[in-house]
Structures are given as structure tokens and as C-alpha cells.
Symmetry: C2
């Protein structure tokens, strides 16, 4: 097989590719993360590169204009080098730093240990053992365990083999008064290490493994302080934007499952290294981790076959995986550390959602609460201390910029606010970082839908007016489109547009969320007005304009004061589990109590979905506050 | 530091040594196992080598004759190369193949599964799971575990993370009818792997980790067949013959504990490789191991600090260590296999003894039984289904050839039978392999004591007659000695002798065993005659002449038909534990029920010991069958 060198600009990094490997694969090898929203199928057009030197066998030109093609632009996923190649990777094709919701939120970050004795997943128990005599000949391990069992009040404690090795010397060096590091394992606790009394702090990680972004909190367990937080995009993104593309890569590429596990581990390890460096700590100082992710993310993190998550009847390999050792997994913390993944309940309602329900407290409170997490997927939970119903719809990627040609994440240059003058002649946009616009992110898309509707550019079904008043509506390469920003004002030099097909796609996404909420309400026989509060979670929720989300019919038309924003409740729930026994018990109860509503069963959801394919809805009585 | 090359003959293997390393250490590096009975202290004289070329700085010449010194003989442990050296290692200085008791014994090898359902530590459970539907959305793991729990009747079953990875594909490939490999772990069972229905046999190891010898049985668990057995010397022997020398090496040499763990693992791994090769199997085919060893051996095998085993009040780090993963330990079988060590009860009554008690059945039967295991140590257990007492005395090494200049193990050329004519003029010996005698082994030493006494060469206290009738009694370099074989008839060309000091040493060893037995009887208030049967265990017991052992007062004077020989009950007990749940429950009960009698506490043992320093005893009424 022939081998060619590929050099990427402006990074000036070169790698060798062998027969058949695309520029996208080469970029991944070179450590340059390129967007692969559609999973390398040539469908999304987000992985564009410009070939500066050399020849490539390229396909997928339909996504490019004639001008672009002449200028050397290619879809990197569809382009295979035929000689040594120099390729330029533009900023908009890169997965790079974008706003990552690490912890903020207006719901108070409740301390899980406020009310009761705090028992972190790893804690130090100070014990004093009676020294052995000829009359009391018990072994060292028995002495220590008896003392630990007495202090903790439980018999379900064992000694880890690793803690046994130097136990005799440690006990005697400290005159039989020692600190035992007690780690909760699967069914029993184990003494993971023994050292002198009162020595040093204890560290753990709380991790949110999102499809799009990963957030790591480094927590000191005894003082319950967050030492640092870091977030970044999930390096799996080069294999596709959504869970379905990732599952396809994992199951249809020979090394696919391994690729994805390595990518997410590299993401977490990179963030952890940064946190440790900042805190002056070593990997071995971190002795426990709790991860919350959707069911697919949890499978891929653990290297478990996710194939059947996407095939009817949508069966995960496991909802509540057993803890694994960091060393067995490849997580760069203490190799003996237990890594716990929070339990999910179904293929599309995972540990990130049980973590969120835990964190909001809705499962132990009376008010009827709707929890909505619009991330890459859209998951909703309805209920209170008496019952809980959950469902999921694949609404998310559209609002994260997937399936929209100029869609992008909330990074510099992303349009996040849009106003449109009546008739559509004038458009004002605000971008992240106040720089020249290069694309549009989720909150911008919500604004755009509402604004186009109010301006009369589109009708309630998302169709462009038959005779538009403005040259911004024109015939594009894929049907009619609206020019949001003219090329001369755009950061990339070409017009930023949104097509009718894309608008319809967004309406389907918002309709799915609302229809899911309505189907849950119908299941329990309650009207929309019965909802006493709505909690919005997830990074995306941070930036949306609730009034606009109601105006397009994405969220129920309830008084704005019933809405609150909880931030990244997945990592916050994971942090509670790390710190509190009560939280561990509760998250398990939540997973056990929650009824999963499979929307594809029966006609209820489909009927609701069809009714929701209007702006805001076919039944306007559901949106009394929305002016026609 | 200067570096010299050392070449060993006749092996023709060369290694480099750096400043201060002895020829003994060099031989270990070269993979040549040399006897180091005293642990490299220059005290035993067993590690002799002959320097053929080069210079060594040597000490310890007191153990060598003038002739030997002129001929180039040195104690390798005391000789440090000062130039490149060529050294010859004679056969008698080598640890090499000697008779290893792998399984024989006259007590029937009872099948532990005869009476009840056999549940090996690893077994296959055939299950059929209902396929998932949209109405039964449980995950694959929950389906499998529910089926396994139903079949086994226990909820304490988890899935190993490794078994989860490919579970979805396995379940569907076999149409939801699969075999789950169920491994008993610490507190719960785990499904270690899942494959098609009824596939393949399952293998485990039963291992006896003796101070002197190591025996491995490869067992097919489902059919309960022993596929093969292998035994060899414990490669730790280069660091000393007895547990005390090993503990000293482990605690006083920086890499000592690691050296000893590596040596025993290498021993077991070598034997296992041979067994696997013979059976056409791979290491990963073996998925469980049960090891029985004395407390020191168990500590060293697991890499646990043994320091306090030899220091009053003789406290082990652990009597009942938790199972460990083969991969974590360095045992070359399936890395995920659990390695179980049988529980001991004290520093000098370990898992080899609970294994023996288990195997004999004495703990569930009525007859009062004395179990005697004379290996490198001497351990005794007295009792029945109602009570059990155990004690230990360090009698062993003397009978394994340690502390006797011409002592050796039962290998080719070892004298194993001795008769002496009245007065001592004529001596007849029989050797292992019927070759020219080079030394004397344990059974030979027992014969020798009795024969010398009956011939009138020594008196009842072990003293040579004041005016001996034979030139065989002479003044040697270390006091008076008896020439057992003249040099012209001996395999090594020099006279084979036994000194008065060595005879006294043997009498102390036999006295300690008998005094231990008497002290146990005294504790429970019973006379010697109350013992209904005596079971002799251990490789050494195989070859001793019971009548001679009674005659010298090593064993109680009871009718010969009350004696039986059980063989290597340690490995046989380990095999039962591998195969049967009943055995696992019983060995744990035995460890819990057995009362350990510390002989060094109080005066009872000391008084008995002093009384036993005669042949057979000061109280001849205890030995009515022994003619004066």
C-alpha cells in the first residue's frame, strides 16, 4: 500500500497515511480535531479543508460551490491523498474551545452533606487497634478490620490485597493508631490503604461525559471543596456529532469501539492532567471517580458494545454498570481507584439524567417538576416525590448546529441572538465574542425561528412566504434559503444562510421535545398547567431565551418565574454521589423508581408530534401568551 | 564499582557481577539453583563451589578441610569475585529434581463431590434469557443476571466488567441461550465470561506452596479430573532452607521481599507451563487457582511483609487473605482469574494445615485423630468433630538435611535406610536410586538414630560410648563423629559422617515433635492411648519407617495399624476447595474452630521437651513396645 505524507496548515504538523485513509483520519492522527458531525459520511460538510499542494481523490463535492472547488476546498472525510499533500484546516472546521458549562446555574448548589453525616465514596477512618500479645494472637488484618468495623458500624468491610503488603510496618510505625482509607466498592467497602493518623487530603473526580462536551471536577473529599473544574469538547466528536454516528463507528469499523473509548479517555485524562498540574498533585493522589453520561457515552467509556442501543427494541448492554478499576480502564489516576458510573434506566435515559434528577432534589420534593435536558439529545423527566416518568427524543443535535449547514457550537463567531425587521429586510445579530459571524449556534437558531415567524418571512409551518419582500429570500443550491448575513460582513467571506429544509428540521426538533412533554403529561392524565416548575439543564439551556423558546413552541407556555436553570446537573449530581451516602442511595432509588416512556410505542407521541410541527403549535390554546 | 564475569561449569553459563555480589548471588542470576540452607550466612556449608580460574575474596573456610581449600573449594555465599572467575558447581550443591510427593497416599482420595451438588470455584451455568421487547426493556445485563440468579438460587451475583464488553453480541449470536462462567470471588460470585451453550472444559490449579517443594495440579473442573501434576523444589531455596532464613532475607535485604515473591511465582509458573504444554492448553484457559501454604509461604507468595511472623508475639499480617487477581499477582494464567489462598490460623499453622485437616475429614468425624505434618516445619493437629487443637514446632529442617553436614533431600544418592551391626563395626545403607551414597536424607537419619542406639554406639542421650568398639567412631574437626560410609565407597570421595553434635540436634528435633503432641494431650486432659488414629502427611512422611520413628520417640507408641499416610494433603485439600462448595465451607469452619496452642507460652512444653531428649524418652512407660 502506498504511503503519503500529509502536512496540515497552519499547524505545520505532518503525518503519514497509507492507502485509503482520508484527510479527516490523517488529521485525527496528527492530533488536529476536525468536526465530523455526520461521522465521516460526506453528508454534513463540516470537515472542509483546503488542499494547497498535492493531489487527492475526492468525492462529496455537492456540499461545495463551484468557486470553493476551484479554490481547492474539499470535504476531508471524502478525500484520499494520492500524493504528498499540504492541507489547510480553517477555524470553522475545528473542534476547539467553545463555551463549556462546567457548573454554573441559578439553582443553588446544595451541599449534599448539609443535613447528615457525610460519607464520601472514599474517606479516612481513624482507628486504634490493641497491639498483639501472646494471649491475643489475632493477625494484623483482623485487628485492623475489627477496629474499622466498630468505627463504621458495618461488617461489610474487607482489606484490599494492596493494603495488606506493608500493613505490619505501618501499624507498628504509628503505634497501632492509623488512618484507614475506606473505599466503597461494588457490594462491600474495602480498606484501600493504611497510613499514619490524620495524614493528607483525599481527592476524587466528578465527571460529566457528554456527547459533545466533557467536564471534570477535581474535588477534595474530606473538606468537600472543588479544587478545580475543566471542560472541553469530547474528542469522540471526530467520529460524529451524535450518539448514533458514534454507535455506527463503534460497530461498523473494526477498531471503532476502541477508537471511541480511547478518545473519551484521552479527553478526560487531558482535563485531569491540567487540573492536577494546577493543584500541584500527582495522578496517584486521585483515588476515586464518579462519571455520569448518557447510556451510549457510558458504554463507550467502558468499552462495552453499544450496537443494540440504536436498534429496536433499543436495549442497552447495561444500565447500571459495576465499578471498574482506573488501571483496568486506562484512566490516568491511581490505578486501584474505583471508577463508578451512575445508573441509567434505558438506552436514551442515562446516568446523566439520574444525576440531574438527584441534583435538583425533585425526586424527594412535592411540587410537580419538569426537568428538561437539551444537550445533544433531549431528555425530559416529569414527577415528584411520588412518581417519576422519563422520556427522550433525538432533538438535540439540530440545536447544537448539526444538520444546519452554518450551524456551529457556541464558540467565537457563533450567532447567538437574532432580530429580523418586519418583512425580513434587516437582520441584526450578536455573536459570541462579538466577532464577525461565521455560523449560528443553538440559542441563535431559536431566536431565528421566532424572529422569521414574527417578521412574516416564514409561516407557522416554516414555509417561506410565496412572494417575499426581501432579496434575502432566494433560491439556493438546496431550495429556498434566507440570507442571515451577507458575505461581505461574514467572517468566512460567504453568505451565511438557512434553508427552508433546515427550518423544517428545526421545527421537527422543537416539536419532538414538546410532544415528549405532552405525551408524559397524557400518560399521567395531567394538563400542562399542573407543572409547578420547570428546570432547564445542560450547557445549551444556559444561553437560550426562554421567552423565545416558548414562542416557537419548544417549551410549555408557563409563567417565566416557574422556569429555572440548573447548569450542568450531570457533573453536579456526580459530585454529590462522590461526597454523600445519601446521594448514592437516592440516585439508586431514582433509577429504580423512574418509569421510562418509550415514545416510539403506540400513537400518542406521533399524534402529538404532528400537532407540534407548527410555530408554536396547531393548538394555539396551548400557547395563550404567544401573539399570532 | 568493578564488574567481573563469572562463568559456571559444567553449565557454561556466564553472568556479570558488580561490587560485593557473591558467587551464590551470581549463580542465582545465572539461573543455577544452588543450596543456601542457612540463607547465605556461611553456616551450613551446602553451597560449595570449586574455583577453577580467577580470584575470589573468600571467608567461611571453617566449613572446609585443608585439602578442599587447596583444591579451590569455597563457600559460594562467602566468596566475592575479585577478577573474572570460572567456578564449578558440584551436583550436591545444587537444588535439583528430588522426590516430590505430588498426590500419593494410602488414605483414599475422597471425591469431595460424592455426596452433594458439586460447585467448583468456577463453573458454567446454562441459562436462557427472554429476548427483549419494547414492553420488556430491561438491559442485557439485567436479563442475564436474573436468569443466573434464578438458576443458582442466589442474588449475590454480579457481572464482571470484562464480561459486559461483548455481552450483547454473545447473547444474540446464541439466541439468548448461553453459558455464564460463574466465579466465586470474595463476598459475591461474578459472571467472569459468557459464551455459547455447553462450550469447552474449565480449568483450575490446586497448588501446594511448600517451603521446600511446590506441587501444582491442573484440574478440569466440570469433570473433576486431574489433568496432570507436577512438583519441584521451591526456587526460594537459594535464600535459605527454612522459613526463618526466608523471612530474614525478605526483611533485611532491600529487594528481599520481591526476590522471594518472584522466586515462588517463577516456580509455580514453570510448573504450570509444563502442565499446560503437556495438555495442549494456553495460560488463559486456566481461570482460577487455589493455593495452600504455610503462613510465611502465603505472605511471600502475596508479597506481604512477613517480618513479625518470627518476632514475639508471632503475629502474621493476615491469616485469611482476600483473593487476588492472577494478573495483579504475576501468576501466568488468565489475568482475571481469582487466586485464593486457604486460611491459616497462626504464624506457624497455615493454610496447608487447614487444607490437610479438611482432606482427612477428621474435623467432621468422631474418632480422636492426630494429624502430623513433618515438612520443613512440624505441625500437629489433634481433635475430631467436636474440637480441634493445633501446634507447631520447628523440627523439620533437621529431617530435611539442614543442620547436618551430609544431610540432603531425598534425591539420587541419599541414604534412606541404615542398619548397624552390634558395636558399630558394619554398616549397611540403601540409597535413593541405588547409586553410590553422597549424603543422608530424613528417613535415613531416623533409621540411623535407632540403629546407632541398638548397636550400642550411642547411649539414650545420644552420647557416643566412652570406649567405642569400632574405628568408625573417631575425633573429627567438630568433635566426635561416626563414619557412616568410608570415602572409597562414597559418591563424593570423602567419608560420610555424623557428629555427636548433629545427633543431639536430631534428638532435639524429634523431642520437639513428641513434646508438642504431649502438650496438646495435656491441654485437653487425655492420655496418649486416647488417640484413635494418627495420620502422617507431607512428602517426608512417605518414606519414614513408622516402627523406627516410634523407636526413637519421634511418634507415639501406638499400634502400627492406627497409623496411616495421607500424602500431600495440602494440595489435596486445595483441590477439594477448588471443586466443592462443601469443602470451602468446611475449611473456613476448620480455621474458625481450631484452637492454636502457642508452645512457647508457659512451662508445659519446655518440661515435655526436656523429658523427650532421650531415645526414645526419659519415661520408658510411654514406649512399652520399644526394647531397651
Amino acid at each position: 500500500m502506498s504511503e503519503h505524507a500529509v502536512r496540515f496548515l497552519p499547524d505545520d504538523v505532518a503525518v503519514a497515511v497509507t492507502g485509503g485513509e482520508s484527510l479527516l483520519v490523517a488529521a485525527a492522527k496528527a492530533g488536529i480535531p476536525v468536526r465530523g458531525s455526520c461521522g465521516g459520511k460526506g453528508a454534513c460538510g463540516k470537515c472542509r479543508m483546503r488542499v494547497r499542494e498535492g493531489r487527492v481523490a475526492a468525492a462529496g463535492y455537492g456540499k461545495l460551490t463551484g468557486e470553493e472547488i476551484s479554490a481547492g476546498w474539499v470535504l476531508s472525510c471524502q478525500s484520499v491523498p494520492e500524493s504528498d499533500v499540504v492541507a489547510e484546516v480553517p477555524p470553522e472546521s475545528r473542534l476547539s474551545a467553545h463555551r463549556v458549562e462546567q457548573a454554573d446555574g441559578v439553582v443553588a448548589d446544595s451541599d449534599p452533606c448539609r443535613e447528615e453525616i457525610c460519607e464520601p465514596l472514599l474517606r479516612r477512618v481513624e482507628v486504634a487497634c490493641p497491639p498483639p500479645t501472646l494471649d491475643d494472637a489475632r493477625d494484623d488484618a483482623a485487628r485492623l478490620l475489627a477496629a474499622v468495623r466498630q468505627v463504621t458500624g458495618t461488617d461489610a468491610v474487607d482489606l484490599e490485597p494492596a493494603a495488606l503488603r506493608d500493613l505490619p510496618a505501618v501499624l507498628r510505625a504509628h503505634d497501632w493508631r492509623v488512618g484507614a482509607l475506606l473505599a466503597e466498592g461494588n457490594c462491600r467497602s474495602t480498606v484501600a490503604a493504611v497510613d499514619g493518623p490524620g495524614e493528607g487530603p483525599l481527592y476524587g473526580l466528578a465527571v460529566d461525559i457528554g456527547t459533545t462536551t466533557v467536564v471534570v471536577h477535581l474535588v477534595e473529599l474530606t473538606g468537600r471543596t472543588t479544587v478545580g473544574t475543566r471542560g472541553s469538547y469530547n474528542q469522540q466528536a471526530v467520529y460524529g456529532d451524535d450518539v448514533i454516528s458514534r454507535i455506527i463507528h463503534a460497530t461498523e469499523t473494526p477498531s471503532g469501539r476502541d477508537d471511541l473509548q480511547k478518545a473519551v479517555l484521552a479527553t478526560i485524562n487531558d482535563l485531569t492532567v491540567q487540573l492536577l498540574r494546577q493543584a500541584g498533585l500527582q495522578p496517584a493522589d486521585v483515588r476515586v471517580a464518579v462519571c455520569a453520561g448518557n447510556t451510549t457515552m457510558t458504554h463507550l467509556f467502558l468499552g462495552i458494545d453499544p450496537a443494540y442501543i440504536r436498534l429496536e427494541p433499543y436495549t442497552p448492554a447495561v444500565n447500571d454498570p459495576p465499578p471498574v478499576r482506573a488501571g483496568d480502564l486506562g484512566l490516568d489516576i491511581h490505578p486501584g481507584a474505583w471508577v463508578h458510573c451512575l445508573p441509567g434506566i434505558a438506552s436514551y435515559v442515562g446516568g446523566d439524567i439520574t444525576a440531574g434528577v438527584l441534583f435538583t432534589g425533585m425526586a424527594r420534593q412535592n411540587p410537580l417538576t419538569l426537568f428538561v435536558d437539551i444537550g445533544t439529545n433531549g431528555e425530559m423527566v416529569l414527577g415528584n416525590s411520588e412518581w417519576l416518568v422519563a422520556c427522550s427524543c433525538s432533538a438535540g443535535p439540530a440545536f447544537e448546529g448539526s444538520g444546519v449547514k452554518f450551524g456551529m457550537r457556541a464558540m467565537e463567531g457563533a450567532i447567538e441572538r437574532v432580530t429580523v425587521s418586519p418583512g425580513g429586510g434587516l437582520v441584526e445579530v450578536a455573536t459570541v465574542g462579538n466577532t464577525a459571524p461565521v455560523g449560528i449556534c443553538g440559542s441563535g437558531l431559536i431566536d431565528l425561528l421566532g424572529a422569521l415567524r414574527r417578521a412574516g418571512v416564514i409561516d407557522r409551518s416554516g414555509q417561506f412566504a410565496a412572494e417575499p419582500d426581501t432579496p434575502r429570500v432566494r433560491e439556493g443550491e438546496e431550495g429556498r434559503e434566507f440570507v442571515l448575513v451577507w458575505g461581505h460582513a461574514a467572517g468566512r467571506g460567504t453568505d451565511i444562510t438557512v434553508s427552508e429544509a433546515e427550518i423544517k428540521n428545526l421545527i421537527r426538533a422543537k416539536g419532538a421535545v414538546f410532544a415528549g412533554i405532552r405525551t408524559m403529561l397524557k400518560m399521567v392524565g395531567l394538563p400542562v398547567e399542573a407543572i409547578e416548575r420547570i428546570i432547564i439543564a445542560g450547557g445549551f439551556g444556559r444561553y437560550i431565551n426562554i421567552k423565545e423558546a416558548i414562542a416557537i413552541g419548544l417549551l410549555p407556555d408557563l409563567p417565566i418565574e416557574k422556569y429555572s436553570y440548573v447548569g450542568n446537573s450531570s457533573v453536579k449530581g456526580a459530585r454529590q454521589v462522590l461526597l454523600s451516602r445519601r446521594a448514592r442511595d437516592e440516585v439508586r432509588q431514582v433509577a429504580g423508581r423512574m418509569t421510562y416512556l418509550e415514545l416510539s410505542v403506540g400513537n400518542d407521541f406521533f399524534d402529538e408530534f404532528v400537532s407540534a410541527l407548527f410555530l408554536p403549535h396547531t393548538d394555539m390554546t396551548l400557547f395563550p401568551s404567544v401573539q399570532d
